[in-house]
Symmetry: C2
Subunit: 548 residues, 2 copies
């Protein structure tokens, strides 16, 4: 494909490795680890890989050439900026250890391993993808690697290609499965190490030992660029309320980070809505009160950030959706009714509380809840246009307030949803460095002979040369959770912590931002300018480090 | 407001003026001009300002300090990146001519002149806005300056503030009105010069003498960044068709420029649809054929760019909308009918052709056409979600093709609309330079004592230091057109020319882009990098200059 001028200039960027990784390294073992919860059960499930020590890399005063190794790599799940750099770092890392090492990429996600679809990633190919966005070098996919048959099928091709280490780049689920695969391959003596790398723009794969997932930095910067531009437009035209939904179903880190960067009038944080047991109407009233307060000052404009997953965090909606799933799954005739009869059926057959919630929803949304169902018959929550739902309900609430003499303004809403715009942006300097280092570090973990570890870089708030490199046993991040009716060992998802500094900073400022327009306009990601423009990590990372 | 790191760094950028304007200038007159059409009528309407010569600025070997002057400035219409720099350039320009000159900004558009709402723009204020996006320094508005009472009311405040020159920054309509105002003030001997500046992201204010309107460069670069990111995502995930609508109702320059920058699989150009007298179904079939051809190669993904104004360019839709406006305006009872009865009424009462078109539309869109009406009873075409309309009709067409054995793929559409994301972005180097020079040059036109001119910079494909500075009589761009039932002198709107090089380059490549994925990923606007990344003008400008 034809390269843009920026792509060509950016290809020359040399990611800045942590000093430790710039020469030969040795692995220093810490104390044995424990899982974050349910230690006994998890120890039982991972007899071969539980309790391993944290590893820290230090400069090796006695360097020697390592063994050549054949390595496989998989991109798993949704795209995140920097995935290509993980692979480039991994390639450079195994080549530095031994120039005869080889790298194979499995195509279109974990399915490529099971179906034996792969390419060898040579220097020519790798050089085309340095510092680029996207996952197109080998593609990605959502097949879950979780069954013994998949593991065995995968092992066939690994053996055939002489691959003794597999790097899985993915989110919490994919890293969970990487640990299960590591345990299995160790248990059967397959001779294949498995190493994970923390990926997701959602920012919900992080904890005491993994400071950030890659992609979050770049994606939130792209969204913040757009929100800032919209805010400048909004502040110039002074006539629209922009309702902006942001990707991130499981957690509100993206919305929170964008709010910290752009200072909108309103930002809803799902975790807070859940913690306070708020209803949809509570959220609507909160927004409507701010619209009215601004209107009283003559400001009939503003911005509202909404996390994609909001609906699923509202306890009353969660309960409604669960009962609807159940009700409609057991009433096959439902779809043959006309719209009016469907609505009547639902209202009459739900429990009183859920029926009331259902009846209170705008007709379009209520209907959407019964129409758009996935193949398992479940409501497709992701199809609900929460940004339109909220603005419609806010508009209705404002008319009530007008009738009560509490509002006397003009409310013209516009809607946006940002997600795909940021997942494949070319990585920021932070993500370019972080991803390259994650991949390079994964090569060092392979050379150290370990399995079931996640590539780990810490001290991320500092310039990349000062980052601390090492490995964390994935099982250390596990707890037991119910999934599809069964208790499973999984990596705990990191939600926004209401008592954490990022949220607290936001909460301390939001009343001011709501009324006194305090927009910030971050502008687009810069790759060539001064360090304070190009090299700042996220506000989330900045504030989280203040907690430490 | 708090400034972002980029804003602070960018404030220091010094726009590069054309060499001519860096010292004292003298105005050199060209030959008398004529309007592009209807010369006699227009000469009659502009007895005092018709036929004036083009002006060219040259370095003045005998510089002298000019008279101090009080100047007023107005931002008119939709936001466009760089508006602040026009004002900064104007400020610096009148201060260089005489340090005692003063600048007043009328607030929230032309209405500020009529209502006597203004602020003095001092150096402190100006310095806060250098190289920033938005129009928030004085705000903008859509009041049309076209009535004698408005002109007289405006003159009161101009006299009161001692203002002898007014600069109107706006699109084709605003510059048309600037010329009418200039004529009026000259006719009554008001002693107020009026100068226009060409603004609009839509790119439809341009002609032989105005090479580009400001804002088009930056806005299309922001949209192209986003389209490129989506294309990288699309190419990585390989499972979605992205339907992307782009702002620009009156012309398709934005869609065409973005297509030239990003090489999508499909880009619809409204002017071509109209020229070929295509139906909506023709457009749908064209897209569906490409979806099917790609599916046959296993590529169930792609991108489609759609200009916002498409619907109004489709002859059959234009005819339908016109008849609907008429039909519903004369049937007050229509709104009391239920949805089914409304549909029946429309189908029965339209002419046969329009009835057939109406019946062929997806029910939701058909209903939208009869529901969303502006205060004059007209269909609000801008509310039609053309991107969803097209994807729905394409999906339907693909199912027909499947039944005929001509399609065997998977079609999952996603939708985007980009407009507000780009109108207030911080200006690219091109727009920062162009706007600053337009404002500075306007100051030179004021010093030259002329009125009814538009600030003009030519040779824009070259680096800004080589641009040619001068002024063009606005009446030179006029022709007579029917507006609201009356023939009026107006600036001819520049549509995409089917025989122009930009379109021809696109047309020559699109079959290749459709089938062989050839995406380009331009990335975000850069302000600090190498010239080939930071200083490229648009492809449209580049190719148009090849025509010359």
């Amino acid at each position: 494909m034809k390269k843009s001028a920026l792509q060509i200039a950016r290809a020359a960027y040399q990611p800045k490795l942590p000093v430790t990784l710039t020469g030969a390294v040795m692995a220093v073992e810490g104390a044995p680890t424990q899982s974050v919860a349910d230690q006994e059960e998890i120890a039982k499930l991972f007899p071969n890989t539980y309790g391993m020590p944290e590893l820290r890399f230090e400069k090796n005063p006695n360097p020697m050439v390592g063994k050549s190794v054949n390595v496989g790599v998989i991109l798993s799940g949704g795209q995140a900026p920097g995935g290509h750099n993980v692979i480039c770092g991994l390639f450079d890392g195994i080549k530095r250890i031994n120039k005869d090492s080889r790298l194979y990429g499995f195509l279109m996600g974990p399915g490529g391993l099971v179906d034996h679809k792969y390419i060898e990633l040579t220097a020519d190919i790798i050089d085309e993808y340095r510092n680029t966005g996207g996952f197109d070098i080998i593609g990605s996919g959502r097949t879950k690697l979780e069954k013994k048959e998949q593991f065995d099928k995968g092992l066939e091709i690994l053996k055939q290609l002489g691959i003794s280490a597999l790097v899985i780049i993915g989110g919490d689920d994919s890293n969970t499965n990487a640990a299960i695969l590591a345990e299995y391959y160790k248990a059967i003596g397959a001779g294949v190490q498995v190493i994970g790398c923390p990926k997701t723009i959602d920012g919900d794969l992080k904890n005491e030992v993994v400071e950030a997932s890659f992609g979050f930095d770049t994606a939130t910067k792209v969204y913040s660029e757009l929100i800032g531009n919209i805010q400048r437009d909004c502040f110039s035209a002074k006539k629209y309320w922009h309702f902006i939904k942001l990707m991130g179903r499981s957690a509100s880190h993206i919305a929170l980070e964008c709010a910290l960067q752009t200072q909108p009038n309103v930002c809803i944080i799902s975790e807070e809505v859940e913690a306070k047991n708020q209803t949809l109407q509570d959220v609507v009233n909160y927004i409507a009160d701010i619209v009215a307060a601004r209107a009283a000052r003559g400001d009939n404009f503003g911005t509202v950030l909404i996390p994609e997953g909001l609906i699923e965090f509202i306890p009353a909606m969660k309960s409604l959706i669960a009962e609807l799933n159940d009700l409609l799954a057991h009433n096959a005739d439902f779809s043959s009714l006309d719209a009016e009869a469907q609505r009547k059926f639902v209202i009459e057959n739900l429990s009183a509380d859920n029926s009331a919630v259902y009846a209170s929803l705008p007709a379009g949304v209520a209907r959407q809840l019964t129409l758009d169902r996935d193949p398992h018959g479940n409501v497709q929550v992701s199809l609900i246009e929460t940004e339109k739902l909220l603005s419609e309900m806010v508009g209705r609430r404002l008319e009530e307030m007008r009738a009560e003499g509490k509002y006397n303004g003009k409310f013209s809403p516009l809607h946006h949803f940002f997600g795909y715009e940021g997942r494949c942006a070319a990585p920021s300097n932070f993500d370019a460095d972080y991803c390259y280092a994650l991949g390079f570090n994964a090569a060092c973990l392979i050379n150290a002979g370990v399995t079931g570890y996640i590539s780990s870089l810490r001290n991320l708030k500092k310039p990349s040369v000062q980052w601390l490199a090492g490995g964390i046993p994935i099982s250390m991040m596990f707890n037991m959770e119910r999934r599809h009716g069964e208790m499973k060992p999984v990596i705990q998802k990191a939600l926004v912590r209401i008592d954490g500094t990022p949220f607290q900073r936001f909460a301390a400022k939001r009343a001011d931002w709501a009324i006194n327009t305090q927009y910030v306009f971050p502008g687009p990601i810069q790759y060539f300018g001064p360090a304070e423009v190009c090299d700042q990590p996220t506000k989330t990372l900045h504030y989280e480090h203040l907690d430490k």
